[in-house]
Symmetry: C2
Subunit: 251 residues, 2 copies
DNA sequence: GACCTTTGTATGGTCAGACCAAGAGCTGGA
DNA sequence: TCCAGCTCTTGGTCTGACCATACAAAGGTC
């Protein structure tokens, strides 16, 4: 797991200098991937695990920290059933946070982010058109209705727009795709918010266009027309970014 | 500093119990967001920072670990210009690791993972067909040639297959999509390896089919036919998983 | 006996101080 | 001039101690 696999050129492998805490992480990952540890299970107390692995408690703690930061572990003091260090149900939150950091640090040009959105949301739209439940559609309708409020300020509109796209992804029924979509859309919330404000008077016109787009997308879902839904989502996303040249690099 | 942020006003605030290392992280993030720290910059030595913040060195180290695990920091010993703890350019490695854990925890059913792969790799194929460089294509060709080796064992084939799909994503020129594709394919390496072994005698036939698929994909790229490339990639991925029913839930 | 208070215990949270190990740069001798 | 070896900085690790929290069990009060 510590990225050091083969690479034996000439038989001289540059001694993968593994730090102790990384070895601890590897052991924990082994247990998880191997199925001995599942969501909700407790790990041994830090002191015991340290002794079992033959390392110091500090090393165990550093390993725990690294995993906790990724949302894999959850640490709590006390003696109760929920105490101690347990394997967390990886919420999409950790993934979202990390992806947001990636995009937020402007590691990716906006074009790439848009392409990724298109790819993912097309897939969501297709799935949703084929299998969205009545509840999913009702929820999307509710968001549409709320966005119609003419008094809505731009920040709130942005929130709702994010929620709409996340809802669309969830209606598609694919958790992984939905998580990635969420992460990407979340990472864009700040720059988009800025863009909304920079629009000035053009805002009203563009917002109206977005509302119309959304409505047409939901209509396609309701008709169960996957191709049409895909196409409309793609047009919606591309069209919007084409109108907002000001974002630059997605930071 | 030992967590005594009492806050006993008459109200009922649910005491945001901040752990020391989290406070340290906050300070570091402040510096990064505020621009005082940029990619490549060095942080103070652990001992100094600990003293400056009034916490123990262990607390600083745990904070560093959490950030290092997310790829934000890079730690190295020694005295040179590259030594010490520096702000790292976020690599896709952290993303890969996290996604691998997600899939390893069986948070996502295999179907979802396959759908995500299809969505992302279709996008990559389209981009690659439109803009892959001669070098990209040559690299893919080289992989194809290596996979032709009849002596190749299944593990090595699996490695090469992973490399091929990563190469395809990179040929598409979209870093974000490539990273996500890499992460997903990496997360499947172990289960796929197992599946390859479980195939028994059917292996030869299936491997031959995969080779042919790959070749046809590259051919489509070379012709610049985006639609065809998309279609072939999708068929390749779906067809393969259809033949491998044994994977179950991608753990 | 029911209920509240006190004590106990397991566990993570934090700290202090020590020594090890890697790497760059300086220094002195060949 | 060049190179071996020392030195200093910095992360890596360990030990052992004490604090803070949350639940559990024992004990006291009505």
């Amino acid at each position: 797991m510590t990225g050091s696999e083969i690479d034996e050129r000439g038989g001289w492998r540059p001694v993968a200098r593994a730090r102790t805490y990384e070895l601890v992480i590897d052991r924990i990952e082994e247990q998880i991937v191997g199925g001995q540890l599942g969501v909700g299970d407790r790990l041994p107390p830090e002191r015991e695990l340290a002794q079992m692995l033959g390392v110091s408690r500090a090393a165990v703690r550093e390993a725990f920290r690294a995993l906790e930061a990724q949302g894999v572990l959850r640490m709590a003091v006390g003696t109760g059933p929920d105490s101690g260090t347990t394997v967390a149900a990886l919420t999409s939150q950790a993934l979202t946070r990390l992806l947001r950091l990636h995009v937020g640090l402007a590691n990716f040009p906006l074009r790439d982010v848009v392409e990724a959105r298109v790819a993912l949301e097309r897939a969501s739209a297709r799935s949703a058109a084929q299998g969205a439940s009545a509840e999913d559609l009702a929820e999307l309708d509710a968001m549409l209705a709320e966005m119609d409020d003419p008094e809505l300020d731009r920040d709130r509109f942005n929130e709702l727009d994010t929620a709409f796209h996340v809802g669309l992804a969830e209606a598609g029924g694919n958790r992984l795709v939905a998580d990635m979509t969420t992460a990407i859309r979340e990472s864009l919330r700040r720059p988009l918010r800025q863009a909304f404000h920079d629009l000035g008077d053009a805002w009203e016109v563009i917002a109206a266009g977005l509302r119309e787009d959304h409505r047409r997308i939901v209509a396609a879902l309701r008709e169960g027309d996957a191709d049409l839904a895909e196409q409309r989502v793609e047009e919606h996303i591309r069209g919007f970014y084409a109108k907002i040249p000001g974002i630059g690099s997605a930071g």
